[in-house]
C-alpha cells in the first residue's frame, strides 16, 4: 500500500470520512479537519510510520501534502540509517 493509501485508510477510520472524499487534492479545511485535528492526526502518523514530525513545520493543506511530507521523512530516515 502506498503512503497515500495508508493515510486515506487512517483518515477514513479516524474522521469517519469516505474514500471518495479523500483524493490527494482534497483540502483538509474543506473536510472539516482544522489545525487541531491535523496535529492530532500527525501524531498518529508519527506512531504509524515511526517518524518524528517535529523537526521543521511544513505547510500542509491537502491530503496529498501529508503523503508527500511522510514520504520525504521516510526517505531521510532511510538515508540516515547506518549502512
Amino acid at each position: 500500500m502506498s503512503t497515500l493509501e495508508v493515510i486515506q485508510q487512517m483518515m477514513m477510520s479516524e474522521f469517519d470520512l469516505k474514500r471518495e472524499q479523500l483524493g490527494a487534492s482534497a483540502k483538509l479545511a474543506e473536510l472539516g479537519i482544522d489545525s487541531l485535528a491535523t496535529i492530532e492526526f500527525l501524531f498518529l502518523l508519527e506512531e504509524r510510520f515511526k517518524l518524528d514530525l517535529n523537526s521543521e513545520p511544513v505547510p500542509i493543506a491537502t491530503v496529498g501534502d501529508i503523503a508527500i511530507e511522510i514520504d520525504r521523512l521516510l526517505a531521510h530516515k532511510l538515508a540516515d540509517a547506518p549502512a
Binding site: 469517519d16 470520512l17 473536510l31 472539516g32 479537519i33 487541531l36 485535528a37 496535529i39 492530532e40 501524531f43
Partner: protein
C-alpha cells in the same frame, strides 16, 4: 432598568434530555441515579451516579468531537436546545449584542484525567495535543460561542455547586443593565471519572452505601441522610431584554426578577446560614417581593448532615412564620448533584414548577429530620396553590451563595 425574560431552555440530564422529559420524570419521582458502568466502579464505596444517557454519535461527527471533552458535548447539546427553542437568530451583528455566561466546576475532567493516566501510568512521552483545549474550564463557553455565533462578552464562572446559578444571575444583570441584549446562560458538568469520584469520596460528603436501595441513597432533609450522589449534565437558558423579545414575537417562558449573591467568608466547606439568608433577602429585595409572595422554592438540599440543617435555618430566618407554608423541593434526590450544572438545572425545575403549577417531590424523604421541619414536599409531587413567584437556592463550597427568583410572565410591568 430592562426587564429580563427567558425565551428558551435546554436540558441534558440524568432524568432525560429535554426540559419536558426532565420535569415529567421529576414530578413522577423517577430516579436518575443508577449504577455506574465504568470498569473501575468497584473501587467506589457507592458505585452510583446520575449519569446522562445520550447518543453522542447521533449528534456529533467524529471530526467535530476532536478536541471536545464530554462536558463540552453535553453543554453544546443543552445550548442547541435553548437556542432552537427560543427561535433567536444570532448570526451577523445580532451575535455582537449577545453574551455567554457559563458555569462549570471541574471543566474537562475526563480529558485531564486521561492525560494524567497516559503520562503517569502509561509513561507516555507526550500527551494528546488537544488536552488543554479539552480540559480548560472555558472550553464549553468557547465552543458554544462558535456554534451559536455569540460574539459579545463571554464568562465562565467556577463557583463549585453555585457556578451555573451565578452564571444565570450575572447574565440576568448584564441584560438588565443593558450590557447585552441577549444572553445564553447555564452550566455543564461531566466529572464522573475515577480520580474525581475518589477525591469526593475522601471528603466524606457523598452518600454512603448503607442502603439496600442504592438509587435512593441521596435523601435530602431526611433523618437517615448521609450525603449526595454526584451527577453529570447540562442546562441552558436564553435570556432576552423584554421589549426586543416581544418585538420579535418570542414565546416568553418566565421573567427573572431577582438575584442574590453573597459569600460566607467563614469556612471553605461548612455552609453558613447567615450568608445564605443574605443572598435570599437580596434576591427578594431586587424582585420587590415579600417572603410570603414566594410560592415554591427549589432548595439547594444536597442531603448532607450539615447542609440541610443550615439551609432550613436560613429559610426560617428569611421566611419567618411563612417558612412552614411554602412548598420546598430538593430535586437532587432524583437527578443527583450536578455541581457546575446543578444551579441551572434546578432553576429550570423551579421555572417549570411555576409554569405547570406543581411542586416536584423531595424523593426518599420517608423519615423527616425533626431539625428540618419545613414543608419539603415529601415523596410525592403536589399541585401548587399559587404559582406566581419561585426561588431557587444554590450554595457552593467556597461559601458561594446564589439565589434566583423568577416570576410568571405578564406583559404589563407590575
Amino acid at each position: 432598568m430592562n426587564r429580563v425574560v427567558i425565551t428558551g431552555i435546554g436540558v441534558v440530564s440524568p432524568l432525560g434530555n429535554d426540559p419536558d422529559t426532565f420535569f415529567r420524570a421529576l414530578v413522577e419521582g423517577r430516579p436518575g441515579i443508577r449504577k455506574l458502568a465504568s470498569p473501575w466502579s468497584a473501587s467506589l464505596a457507592l458505585p452510583m451516579a446520575g449519569t446522562v444517557d445520550v447518543d453522542i454519535d447521533a449528534h456529533f461527527s467524529k471530526i467535530r468531537r476532536i478536541g471536545l471533552d464530554r462536558v463540552t458535548l453535553l453543554a453544546l447539546l443543552a445550548a442547541r436546545q435553548a437556542v432552537s427553542a427560543s427561535g433567536i437568530a444570532l448570526a451577523g451583528t445580532a451575535g455582537e449584542n449577545a453574551g455567554l455566561f457559563w458555569g462549570t466546576g471541574m471543566g474537562g475532567a475526563t480529558a485531564l484525567e486521561a492525560s494524567y493516566h497516559d503520562l503517569l501510568v502509561n509513561r507516555a512521552a507526550r500527551l494528546k495535543p488537544t488536552t488543554i483545549v479539552m480540559a480548560m474550564n472555558n472550553a464549553a463557553a468557547g465552543q458554544i460561542a462558535i456554534e451559536a455565533g455569540i460574539r459579545g462578552p463571554s464568562y465562565t464562572y467556577s463557583q463549585a455547586c453555585s457556578s451555573s446559578a451565578v452564571a444565570i444571575g450575572e447574565a440576568y444583570r448584564a441584560v438588565r443593565h443593558g450590557v447585552v441584549g441577549t444572553a445564553l446562560a447555564g452550566g455543564a458538568e461531566a466529572l464522573l471519572t475515577q480520580g474525581v469520584l475518589k477525591a469526593w469520596e475522601s471528603l466524606g460528603t457523598l452518600a454512603n452505601a448503607g442502603s439496600d436501595q442504592p438509587e435512593t441513597a441521596c435523601r435530602p432533609f431526611a433523618k437517615d441522610r448521609s450525603g449526595f450522589v454526584l451527577g453529570e449534565g447540562a442546562a441552558a437558558l436564553i435570556l432576552e431584554e423584554h421589549v426586543a423579545a416581544c418585538r420579535r414575537g418570542a414565546s416568553i417562558l418566565a421573567e427573572i426578577v431577582g438575584y442574590g449573591n453573597t459569600t460566607d467568608a467563614s469556612h471553605i466547606t461548612q455552609p453558613d446560614a447567615a450568608g445564605q439568608a443574605r443572598a435570599m433577602r437580596m434576591a427578594l429585595a431586587e424582585a420587590d417581593l415579600e417572603p410570603s409572595e414566594i410560592d415554591h422554592i427549589n432548595a439547594h438540599g444536597t442531603g448532607t448532615k450539615v447542609g440541610d440543617v443550615v439551609e432550613t435555618r436560613a429559610l426560617k430566618d428569611v421566611f419567618g412564620d411563612f417558612a412552614k407554608q411554602v412548598p420546598i423541593s430538593a430535586t437532587k434526590a432524583l437527578h443527583g448533584h450536578l455541581m457546575g450544572a446543578t444551579g441551572a438545572l434546578e432553576f429550570i425545575a423551579a421555572v417549570q414548577a411555576m409554569r405547570e403549577g406543581v411542586a416536584p417531590p423531595t424523593a426518599h424523604l420517608w423519615h423527616p429530620d425533626p431539625e428540618c421541619d419545613l414543608d419539603y414536599v415529601p415523596l410525592v409531587s403536589r399541585p401548587l396553590a399559587r404559582s406566581f413567584n419561585v426561588m431557587s437556592n444554590s450554595f457552593g463550597f467556597g461559601g458561594s451563595n446564589a439565589v434566583l427568583v423568577a416570576r410568571r410572565y405578564r406583559a404589563a410591568s407590575l
